[in-house]
């Protein structure tokens, strides 16, 4: 088990859960113990118009003031519907997209504005696996070349590269003899394994996974998820796992962030998010997921939310979810909720939280991860 401790039900011991809590509470992130921390990150995409001179006529609020911290050995899941900013966020962490404002720190070092040269050693420790393995592997290069380049960058001797490549292929469950094949000669699941092998080649500490299994068939999904699990234990990896499929995220994550329209709605230890969702949006997401068990499906009541996410160019004022929220009141329409820290590292940005007792509410405090534009109003029970 990793030192940070999994927050799953198996982490029963007193010391383990206390330790896990300490790493789970984002307030600890300023002491530099976190592997990766992100502060008030904002990413706006300009919308331009005009024939000769580009005028900026608006902005897409893709990621709007998001703070998070990732402990070593931890798997952080990020979920949300399309357009919630999860992919933009993870790409910005890798510095594939430049943030508008805010800070990204890796091992306490600010990489928000680092140059390509300064980023090189960081990227050796932080790698990414993309959603579409077809599009993220160069179709004109053989697997040996695809794996050889990162190995060379790591400083592996030329004579050792082939042997190391074979070993990598074997480790991700592919035939080491297939070194001379092209990506198109593999199936989707196998290609994703090549993408994982390429990320592993530089011996990283952190792998950012952007929907790594959503393009795969269920039986192949399970294989890839199992592989990621084994690799994490073997190489002591940390993961940031982005997916729209809550059930996949639950299976892999220690902690989960729920995003909606560029904002963090809820952050919670994985199991607790499902047993005790605080934000109404999380409940709506959970209710919408069909459970692959006919009897349980018949038994549960499923309050569905109406409508679809609003346009991120003109996000609604106040709480972004208020247009679809069954609990919304006047305060939700005008004041952006603060991110409130409840017990056990469970955060939620909601004026009318559910599943919390009066006692828990009294003990809750404003989290430093709250957006800067959030109001001072404390959450209330009705």
């Amino acid at each position: 088990m990793s030192p940070s401790g999994r927050l799953g039900p198996e982490a029963g011991g007193e010391s383990v859960s206390a330790e896990a809590q300490a790493t789970a509470v984002p307030e600890t992130r300023y002491d530099g113990s976190a592997l990766l921390d992100v502060e008030h990150l904002q990413i706006l995409f300009p919308i331009k118009a005009g024939l000769v001179i580009d005028r900026q006529i608006g902005q897409v609020h893709a990621v709007d003031d998001v703070s998070l911290a990732l402990a070593e050995g931890e798997t952080l899941g990020i979920v949300g519907e399309s357009g919630c900013g999860k992919t933009t966020l993870i790409r910005a962490l890798m510095r594939l997209i430049d943030p508008t404002s805010g800070a990204i720190r890796f091992r306490g070092r600010d990489i928000t504005n680092a140059s390509r040269r300064a980023l090189a050693p960081v990227r050796r420790e932080m790698q990414m696996v993309f959603q579409d393995p077809q599009a993220s592997l160069n179709p004109r290069k053989r697997v040996g070349q695809i794996l050889g380049t990162p190995l060379r960058l790591r400083g592996v001797q030329r004579s050792r590269i082939e042997a190391e490549s074979r070993q990598l292929l074997g480790r991700v469950g592919l035939n080491p003899e297939h070194l001379n094949r092209f990506p198109h000669e593999f199936s989707g699941g196998q290609r994703q394994r090549i993408g994982i092998a390429r990320a592993l080649a530089v011996d990283p500490r952190l792998i950012l996974l952007d929907e790594p299994v959503s393009a795969l068939d269920v039986s192949i999904q399970a294989q890839v998820i199992n592989l990621l699990d084994e690799l994490q234990d073997e190489f002591r990896l940390s993961y940031v796992f982005v997916a729209h499929d809550l059930s996949v995220v639950r299976h892999v994550s220690d902690r989960i962030i729920v995003m909606y329209l560029g904002k963090v709605m809820e952050v919670s230890p994985a199991a607790e998010l499902f047993s005790k969702p605080i934000h109404p949006y999380t409940s709506a997401l959970l209710a919408a997921i069909p459970i692959p068990d006919p009897n349980e499906n018949r038994a549960r009541s499923r309050p569905l939310v109406a409508g679809e996410p609003p346009n991120p160019v003109r996000p609604p004022p106040g709480c972004r979810f208020h247009t679809r929220c069954p609990r919304a009141t006047e305060v939700c329409r005008t004041v952006e909720p603060q991110l409130t820290a409840y017990a056990g590292g469970h955060l939620a940005a909601c004026h009318h939280p559910q599943n919390v007792t009066a006692h828990e509410l009294a003990a809750a405090s404003r989290s430093a991860a709250s957006p800067l534009s959030a109001g001072q109003e404390k959450p209330r029970r009705e």
Partner: protein, 349 residues
């Protein structure tokens, strides 16, 4: 029961001649759809589920395609029907909703005009004004707000969920007796998916239409289906009612499929019981049972093709294609939470 059957597919076979050889995409598929029933066809990519339903609509016809078997719908065989005859059935009596609503709507025509065209083709007496009224009615019925205004919008002005609603509105326009939905919610977010599934359920309840739902998502299946057809490498490996397939699955592939899904209502176990290997190439499928190379329980008899027959005495409608005896299977299968384990190696502690 016989009276009630809307569509009876018998021994459907589809082969395509390709440069690399003949691909037998669908091999002896039989199933029945009754009125007011949702039949889900599940399987992974390449299992032949989409080809089967597209063949019913005549959408796979071409110089390189060969068909066998019959598909009886309202006294007509859809497989041998002439193109002109099929044209009358398609859209009017059997409607289809596709996975990607953007590529199945015409981007240069207004949404209203596309629905109107569909109505007027199949009901030539209708005036444009009448058809427009019907279009508004249909769009309101599938939950498109401000339908009167949205008639004049182009498909790109709609979100994915709204486009799929337009597709369903078009499919409903001629009150079809059978609706074929090919992965209708795969491209949509979960909250919108739940809304669309509600629309389909509503349609079934209101009109008594039969629905064939093609999907790989067992959650969706558990939510809406009455009966399930499980396909693997072009063949039906098991079929039965929702509860039979989920609580008493007979084929090791079904076990694997049920076991390898991650579930939102379950805590993480150490490992998912995955099915090893990958689906076979249909150019040269394995002899006998197609699942044999991936099946941990295969034995020497599996080189012969097992018949699709009822093996559970109490459930005559529950068919499967596996040589293992019932007693043997009961011993292999772990019941309860861990149903679906394919191999002993994957048992979670």
């Amino acid at each position: 029961m016989v009276e009630d059957s809307l569509l009876r597919v018998e021994d459907l076979g589809v082969s395509f001649a390709t440069e690399d050889g003949v691909v037998r995409a669908v091999d002896g598929v039989s199933f029945t759809v009754h009125r007011g029933e949702v039949v889900a066809i599940v399987g992974e990519s390449g299992s032949g589920k989409s080809v089967s339903v597209m063949t019913l609509m005549g959408l796979t016809r071409g110089p390189n395609a060969r068909f066998e078997g019959t598909a009886w719908f309202e006294g007509r065989d859809l497989i041998s029907a002439a193109d002109a005859e099929l044209h009358k059935v398609r859209g009017a009596e059997i409607a289809m909703v596709f996975q990607d609503p953007m590529s199945s709507l015409d981007p240069v025509y207004r949404v209203g005009d596309q629905i109107v065209e569909q109505i007027r083709v199949h009901e030539p007496g209708t005036t444009k004004a009448q058809a427009l009224d019907r279009a508004v009615e249909l769009m309101e019925r599938v939950g498109i707000p401000h339908a009167g205004d949205r008639l004049r919008s182009y498909p790109h002005e709609f979100s994915g969920g709204m486009r799929q609603r337009v597709m369903i509105a078009m499919a409903l326009s001629c009150s079809p007796k059978l609706l074929i939905a090919d992965e209708p919610t795969t491209a949509l977010d979960v909250t919108v998916q739940a809304q669309i599934l509600d629309e389909l359920r509503q349609l079934r309840d209101d009109t008594g239409a039969g629905i064939i739902l093609v999907t790989h998502d067992l959650g969706v299946v558990a939510d809406i289906a009455d009966r399930i057809v499980v396909m693997y490498a072009g063949r039906v490996v098991e079929q039965g009612t929702l509860d039979e397939i989920f609580y008493d699955p007979q084929h090791p592939y079904t076990w694997g499929l049920l076991g390898s899904i991650t579930r939102v209502d379950r805590d993480r176990s150490q490992r998912l019981p995955a099915i090893a290997g990958q689906p076979p190439s249909l150019l040269a499928p394995p002899h006998g049972c197609h699942f044999r190379p991936r099946c941990p329980h295969a034995f020497k008899r599996c080189v012969e093709v097992p018949a699709l027959i009822a093996r559970v005495r109490e459930a005559p409608g529950h068919l499967d294609r596996c040589w293992l005896s019932l007693e043997h299977k009961r011993g292999l299968r772990v019941v309860g939470d861990q149903i679906g384990l394919v191999s002993g190696e994957a048992v979670a502690p």
